[in-house]
Symmetry: C2
Subunit: 491 residues, 2 copies
């Protein structure tokens, strides 16, 4: 409403733009996983498409990731590796993973079109090996593809949907996000979308009736007014690097010390949308990750809180266990292992104590007398008979801790590696249309990826691959719908 200063993200009124420096059909803000897919689809649909990338080159946070994507319903890889999956079972799981506020329409779209999306991603030269990694891991470290990347086999998820592995990692060793994004950046060029690098979007341009008609961006020393005759697509990332926003909305996340982010994750994309009247939703939620496995043998360990009690099934995905550590345990927890399961080579955690007995370990950790001993003795008795009546850990991970010495690995937020990113952002429909706080569509504006509160709304049910899966899938939806949006002004 008021005039905008140089740094404001409030939308500028269309009548204040004297001259457009550039005119395109579709303008995509951010060239990470979501933005690349939006640009490819928009350009392929015939729209004159421009991507604004604030860094010297695209890739975004997706390029820094493992590259794992969540696909299912019977992919080529799932079939080759001998797994049955169906859209129905995938829907059941993803709905539960998305959390209590799951958007049924987004869940269904994502799952029902998963095979098509897998084929589309593959069509850009992203290779996937027909191989499966049986050992529980955060992601395959080699070039293998398929693995259980979430809670599919884990109580209570396994009771709600037939388990199938749906984490698909591209066929590159180590972190494959860079490779994935190279393919998608090439595909952006091949599709004919233009990319303006080192160009930072500042705010949207909006008519009095709410229609978004372009964006203002900073390119070197120039400030450009860029018309988007059909639509603007915001794919500029989350806000974990914006400490003030995190402190205001999700202060618990501040205790996590490793921010899974690229510079775009400063909340600017969210604020640019809000500046045009968009609602931000789910800002209090994030994904937190304390990787106490691999080694997979550590799943046989016992997680305890500062009372010396267990608090969760240790075989759950680390998004779920870590959420419990942060929100239920005040950021203080330990993984107790014995000498038989401790694997020195892969373990990243500080050893808080090593002792020959449970009693000594309990004393060394300063836990309430007798409680850790009770917890571990009880666990050992249960494990010996292959049952976990307290938390329903799966039998294959139940084994008595019986080979001294016993160690407590420090899983506290203060002393261990805690990855974190945000799960809140602009409110969108399954069509990637951006919504106002009153639920009205903001015409000419779309968004996808961590710039949005999209498919995944909680860390408690998260599976690895959902975020890039969602970003690429709804990025495509956004690009297609942006290209089909009725244009304003003369042709």
């Amino acid at each position: 409403m008021a005039g905008a200063d140089a740094t404001s993200t409030r939308a500028q009124r269309a009548e204040s733009v004297a001259r457009w420096d550039r005119v395109h059909d579709v303008v995509v803000v951010g060239h990470g996983g979501a933005g690349a897919c939006a640009a490819i689809e928009a350009a392929r649909a015939g729209a004159d498409t421009l991507v604004l990338e604030r860094m010297g080159r695209g890739g975004g946070t997706s390029a820094l990731s493992t590259g794992v994507m969540y696909f299912g319903g019977g992919t080529r890889i799932q079939k080759a590796c001998g797994f049955d999956d169906s859209v129905e079972e995938m829907i059941k799981h993803v709905r539960m993973a998305a959390g209590a506020r799951a958007d049924e329409e987004k869940v269904r779209a994502f799952c029902e079109q998963s095979l098509e999306h897998f084929a589309w991603i593959s069509s850009h030269g992203v290779e996937f090996r027909e191989s499966y990694v049986a050992e529980k891991t955060t992601h395959p470290f080699g070039d293998d593809c398929l693995f259980y990347s979430g809670n599919e086999e884990v109580y209570p998820f396994a009771q709600a949907a037939a388990p199938a592995p749906r984490g698909h990692k591209p066929a590159r060793a180590g972190e494959a996000g860079g490779y994935l994004m190279e393919c998608l950046l090439r595909a952006t060029d091949a599709a004919g979308a233009a990319v303006l690098s080192d160009c930072r979007a500042l705010r949207l341009v909006q008519r009095a009736d709410g229609r978004v008609v372009g964006a203002i961006a900073r390119h070197g020393q120039e400030t450009l007014a860029i018309a988007a005759r059909r639509a603007v697509v915001l794919c500029a990332g989350g806000f974990i690097l914006n400490e003030a926003m995190v402190a205001e909305h999700a202060p618990e996340l501040l205790q996590c010390n490793w921010r899974a982010a690229s510079p775009g994750d400063d909340g600017s994309g969210i604020r640019i949308g809000m500046g045009a009247g968009a609602a931000a939703a789910n800002l209090h939620e994030g994904l937190v990750l304390n990787a106490y496995y691999p080694p997979a043998s550590h799943l046989k360990g016992v997680l305890v809180n500062e009372q010396g009690q267990r608090f969760i099934n240790e075989d759950a995905y680390i998004g779920r266990t870590s959420d419990a550590m942060v929100y239920r345990c005040g950021g203080r927890a330990w993984l107790v292992v014995d000498d038989a399961i401790y694997a020195r080579t892969q373990a990243m955690h500080r050893i808080a104590a090593v002792e020959e007995s449970f009693e000594a370990l309990e004393r060394a950790l300063g836990l309430p007398e007798g409680e850790l001993v009770h917890t571990l003795e009880r666990y050992n008795r249960d494990a010996a008979r292959g049952a976990d009546p307290l938390f329903h850990k799966a039998p294959q991970h139940l084994r008595a801790l019986s080979v001294p010495p016993f160690a407590a690995l420090d899983c506290s937020t203060a002393n261990s590696f805690f990855g974190v990113f945000t799960l809140g952002g602009l409110a969108i429909r399954a069509s990637a249309e951006v919504l106002s706080p009153e639920g009205a569509v903001i015409p000419g504006l779309y968004a996808a990826g961590r710039n949005t509160a999209g498919l995944c709304l909680e860390g408690r049910g998260y599976a690895s691959g959902l975020s890039i899966g969602e970003a690429t899938f709804f990025g495509r939806v956004a690009g297609r719908n942006a290209a089909a949006h009725a244009p304003w002004g003369p042709a």
Copy 2:
């Protein structure tokens, strides 16, 4: 931006108002605790003030409450009852009670002006007896005044600030909210504010530059355009009765079966503010209340989750224990008591099981074998020596459960009385100015009470009396600042 239909809460543009049906300086929406105090202060400051009340008579949710208000820093009652308190200690406690996102400015204003606010409330004929109730209770059932209404004496709060009781209940037996509101409604009249009953605000009227200049309201068959030459003050309540909003933002609260609400708590006040560009904040938080005490003897009971583990110090305020039941225990918990502490007359909970031994009780509840027995035996050993190393329950509430039979009172959300209201709403400053999502003040708009995300942002640290304390205090701030706001248009 677009035109408003009959039910839209989107602000109407000022130029669309052909004629004002009424012209006032200050228009207050809602005549509960916050609105009454806003109207009194505005009228006393000389502003021509109109209150819009949707019901036939004011009172709002405050009138349905116990009437407890949180005052401190050395009130007349605190002194008469022999308690030392200071503004500094009150600040320490309230800051912690408000939670991780506490707004320091609001905390300080509320505490530093608490004595003045107590005198002001008293000046309207609200009587308080110089009496103290030592027994822990949700509120004094007779006409006594002072009691510990929160976590002041409880770990870890007692370690952070010198405890003092700060719950002040007006001198009426039973629920005193009706009495409190009668006094404040009379004071509204006495101050010279006009009240329009059966009049429901629909939306604000706003100029192109964002300035709020009035409101549109429905009064009988008429739709009125009411000018607010200085400001509008929104005091229209929370959103616990708006099931769609609760499902979208705080679905966990849906499991609570007793909504502490009056009809205004349908979110309309929040949506009216959002319709003028205001930010809504903290929508995911609520206060949940499962009153397993009184009887105070039940504080000597043991709360257990469905693993048979303890999970919190049972002597904490029920806002804190109930929050843990809902968010950490999935809404399933029991209070175990023995025959010595069970008080039939006051207990409201369903008895899930009564047995002669811990083992039998554990079996009857279907808990994992041995865990409840361990929990209770350990508790008994600790209680016998007056210590609770697990959760730091205060020694005076520690007593071994040793007199059979033993009963488990069902504290689950499904089977017990769970009070609930929301703690999210419009973002305001300590000045009660309403903020946009970008943190800019919306000129001419103020808000207070549960219509806002104000002082209390979490149920985990809440104390009874904070909500009406906050509503009345910041209602006054809103009224004063609204009356002092520079007017628009001709005098």
